[in-house]
Symmetry: C2
Subunit: 183 residues, 2 copies
């Protein structure tokens, strides 16, 4: 793995477990990278944080979203996300959705990592919206946002309660799908 | 206002706008309190944080929960919370629910402020559960948790999107109440 990748992977891990306020010294130590090398690659720690979050999005989405199988009914495709979320949010060391948590921790709306969190959010909403439209939702955009809101609530709740969703993610998503009459 | 109250109010404000990692020096400066006075009142910054969150809970709950009016139907009593949440989460400078945000920022589940976040959560769930039971819910405990989950999702979403709920809080709570046939 090259220096950039090693730095970003270590940064992603460290920011998630310790918080976005971890300093440059601790970051470089964890990555086994000199400060000089870090600053040759990135202009600031804020850029390292944004790049590390961005780098992890595809793998995170792949672990959350089922592959697009045309054979899978839209309702099942949506519920699979919440089934996976139940498992993910019950795992030891779960500290919330990395992107939502980073957005909450970074108080400035202009921090470059905030854009990554918004993009993640929008991608998740687009997945739900597409499935909701295929399932016959009267307002797929709204249902997509509601399901993303359930995702956010489930991950936040798991942190506050220090406990897994215990079926609440699936039950809440199911209720919204029933209400919108999604097949 | 005495020193303790002044310190806790300044701490609550500062931790909310800057994050829980604000140092003791900045905290004492903002409160106009010497470090010596702070350490005479609290053994650590962690205790200041927990006490400042705890001190703000009653006012925060009063702004979120309507007074218990027996004349108000349970459904309306619940929806009023989400109406208030719509307004609160649309205000400039909204940085999420202070207790959920603190729980997410504080990575250690043993931090004393984490217990305050859980208590806030449990109080909110109890409010919803009581109204849900009065409204005839088949499973008031589950509906109470679902509505708290919507609260958490709405506040997290407002931060990620840097925008108000735009009706999504009310629509999502209403859908869950419809689904549970709450009068």
């Amino acid at each position: 793995m090259d220096t950039r990748a090693r730095l970003l992977d270590a940064a992603g891990q460290l920011f998630y477990t310790e918080g976005v306020h971890v300093g440059v010294a601790a970051l470089c130590r964890a990555a086994g990278v000199s400060k000089r090398s870090m600053y040759q690659l990135f202009v600031s720690k804020d850029e390292v944080l944004a790049a590390s979050l961005s780098r992890s999005v595809p793998a995170y989405l792949a672990s959350l979203l089922p592959p697009t199988e045309p054979s899978l009914p839209p309702r099942e495709r949506i519920l699979q996300v919440f089934q996976r979320l139940e498992t993910m949010a019950s795992a030891p060391g779960f500290g919330g959705c990395p992107y939502v948590s980073a957005a909450i921790e970074l108080k400035s709306p202009r921090h470059p990592a905030r854009a990554v969190a918004r993009e993640f959010h929008d991608t998740l909403t687009a997945f739900f919206r597409t499935a909701a439209a295929e399932g016959g939702a009267a307002d797929p955009e709204r249902l997509g946002r509601q399901l993303t809101l359930v995702h956010d609530g489930v991950t936040a709740r798991a942190v506050v309660q220090a406990a897994g969703p215990d079926g609440l993610a699936l039950a809440t998503a199911s209720a919204l799908l029933d209400h919108a009459k999604i097949r």
